[in-house]
């Protein structure tokens, strides 16, 4: 059993639990630096993981920590992307200023979306964010002067302070820096009064109010900060995809972001990154599986009988080549996680850690969340 021995309050306040954990993260950081050398062909995919990590972080702050579930966050990604491209390519602003402005625009819209949220709770808020996202998507389609509408807009490679980052590795480091920056800023917020106020709003609004938390201010702040993070992610996303069209930022993408948060584990920063990695890697995994699984399954069944094996191969092959399979798989994974692992991948990781650190005294009930059966208990 490991015991963390603390002697000062500063230790409690730090970002890492103890020196050992900090060293692990340093090792992780060094590994990330070496990745471009090891797997240069996957750099673009990994950059997408970092961008999605920012998105997951954004939604985690809003849904995981403040309890305001948003079903339309892809709209903010779109706003950030289009705003950034507009500022850089149409107005010729420097890259860094453009990203900052795009984040500000996104934050502004976030505040607008958050305004009605002050009066709504629970599922009504979710529906409202969905409605907002659909309206924003329509606006992006119609506002042709800025977004070029359905024709789409090509995006140039980023040029920061005169240095072109067209190279994959350079873009990789840019996204990595953005993600680490986002994580650090968010972790800072979470260990200060603002973060505590957010968690209080999630768990009991009435108690939070009676402790002096101004609900309106903190909910608006949550929306604005979350949208700003999405705005930055949107700018990077625009460079990554190279071509913007309004139908990229659909409800389906928002659902993928929510999937990130659920799979990763609500209420933890690690969860956001785990979830992002999962959701970004999933299409890659699916396409690999599409190519390999039918042949492999056919070979296995062929041990029983050559005809059966061939039939299996043909059947599975036809099945996995269906175009509509991917969303269904996403849905299935979402359902399975909600049913069997509501704490997400990070939750499972924590359970494994606690199991080993308290072996043989581990109790399954440690992580059991209390169920509320009375409607009056569910209203916050």
């Amino acid at each position: 059993m490991r015991f963390v021995f603390k002697t000062t309050y500063r230790q409690d306040l730090g970002l890492f639990r103890d020196g050992a954990q900090r060293n692990w993260y340093v090792v992780l950081g060094l590994a990330m630096l070496v990745v471009p050398v090891l797997v240069p062909s996957y750099l673009v995919d990994i950059s997408l993981v970092f961008i999605y990590g920012l998105c997951g972080l954004s939604l985690m702050v809003l849904a995981g920590y403040t309890g305001l579930v948003s079903l339309g966050h892809a709209a903010f990604l779109g706003i950030g992307a289009y705003a950034h491209v507009y500022f850089v390519q149409d107005w010729g602003l420097p890259w860094v200023i453009s990203v900052a402005l795009a984040a500000a625009v996104s934050a502004g819209v976030g505040v607008l979306v958050g305004l009605p949220a002050l009066r709504m709770t629970g599922v009504y808020l979710t529906i409202a964010t969905l409605a907002f996202a659909l309206i924003i998507q329509e606006v992006l389609t119609r506002w042709e002067r800025v977004t070029h509408g359905l024709k789409g807009r090509p995006v140039d490679k980023p040029v920061i302070f005169g240095v072109s980052l067209a190279h994959d590795a350079a873009f990789y480091f840019l996204c990595l820096a953005a993600l680490i920056g986002g994580l650090w800023l968010t972790a800072n917020l979470l260990r200060s009064p603002t973060g505590r106020a957010w968690v209080a709003i999630r768990d009991s609004e009435i108690a939070a109010q009676s402790m002096g938390v101004n609900l309106a201010r903190y909910k608006t702040l949550a929306f604005a900060y979350s949208a700003a993070l999405m705005g930055v992610a949107g700018a990077l996303f625009a460079h990554k995809v190279g071509f913007l069209a309004p139908d990229i930022f659909s409800v389906l993408l928002s659902i993928q972001f929510l999937l990130m948060v659920v799979v990763g584990g609500l209420g933890s920063l690690h969860g956001a990154v785990f979830g992002a990695a999962f959701v970004a890697m999933l299409p890659v995994l699916i396409s690999e599986a599409r190519d390999r699984v039918p042949a492999w399954a056919g070979q296995v069944i062929a041990l029983a009988g050559k005809d059966a094996g061939h039939a299996t191969f043909l059947g599975l092959d036809r099945f996995v080549k269906q175009p509509g399979l991917e969303p269904g798989l996403f849905g299935l994974i979402l359902v399975l996680f909600i049913l069997f692992e509501p704490l997400g991948v990070y939750g499972r990781w924590r359970k494994i850690q606690v199991y080993f650190s308290t072996f043989p005294l581990y109790k399954r009930a440690t992580f059991r969340r209390q169920k509320t059966y009375m409607r009056s208990e569910r209203l916050r």
Binding site: N188, T194, I206, A208, Q209, G212, N214
Partner: protein, 251 residues
């Protein structure tokens, strides 16, 4: 005059939950409100915490009219409360719950917190020290890092009170502090309420059903029934008042 209620009334739809309730509390006293269930005791608390708006009447706290003040201002004015059904932040640790109690004194500065400047760190350490004082006062050291969901009911009630104390109030509202507690825990609660009054100098307004606790601790008692004041006086006077006896035991 610490807190004064003048002619407080509130309707919920057709039900008149409070009807012309008036009382005044002196600083440093322990004032208890008793009454059968549904008499409107917690409603008074909810009016003071500004969860509800009264249809009529006024509330005056240390000379300031707080009848229409926004709910989140109440803590800053120096009024803290506990809840009947424990409204702790279930998925946070005891320490985080208590630190949130400091929020009334912890005006957040978003930009500074984003970068976690040294002055934010200093403020956080100061809050931690204040919270630790309350933990020492109520003997919660063993539960400091436990998640609230894992704690037994009695401990949760103490944490609720600790969180209220962390706001450094001048007036503390305790809603049924001994409900669900065993005899020993109730005795501890009685000692703590006395300590809060004598050592910390906080005025206490309490809703309570347990008559032994009421007699042991209170300076004055207000009896309510169906939203109306029956009588106001010392615990002994109120317990012997014929109307109070009738309300509790029937004619």
């Amino acid at each position: 005059m610490m807190l004064e209620a003048r002619d407080l009334s509130i309707n919920f739809g057709g039900i008149r939950a409070l009807d012309g309730v008036s009382f005044a509390m002196a600083p440093g006293e322990v004032f208890t409100i008793i009454g059968p269930n549904g008499a409107g005791k917690t409603t008074i608390f909810n009016l003071i915490s500004r969860i509800y708006d009264p249809t009529q009447g006024r509330l005056i706290f240390r000379g300031q009219d707080i009848t229409r003040v926004p709910p989140h201002e109440i803590a800053r004015l120096g009024i803290a409360r506990t809840f009947q059904n424990i409204e702790l932040f279930a998925h946070a640790s005891v320490l985080q719950n208590l630190l949130l109690g400091r929020h009334a004194h912890a005006r957040g500065h978003f930009g500074e917190e984003l970068l976690f400047l040294p002055r934010v760190r200093a403020r956080e350490l100061a809050h931690r020290e204040a919270v630790e004082k309350v933990i020492d006062f109520l003997d919660l050291q063993a539960h400091r890092d436990s998640f609230v969901v894992n704690l037994p009911y009695g401990v949760r009630k103490v944490v609720e009170m600790a969180r209220a104390l962390c706001t450094e109030p001048t007036l503390l509202l305790l809603d049924e502090p001994s409900s669900g507690l065993s005899v020993e825990e109730t005795e501890d609660m009685a000692f703590w309420i006395q300590d809060i009054r004598t050592l910390l100098g906080i005025t206490v307004l309490m809703v309570e059903h347990d008559m032994s606790l009421v007699s042991a601790v209170s300076d004055r008692v207000l009896a309510l029934d169906y939203g109306r004041v029956l009588t106001l006086g010392t615990p002994r006077e109120v317990q012997e008042h014929p109307e109070v006896v009738k309300a509790y035991l029937g004619a």
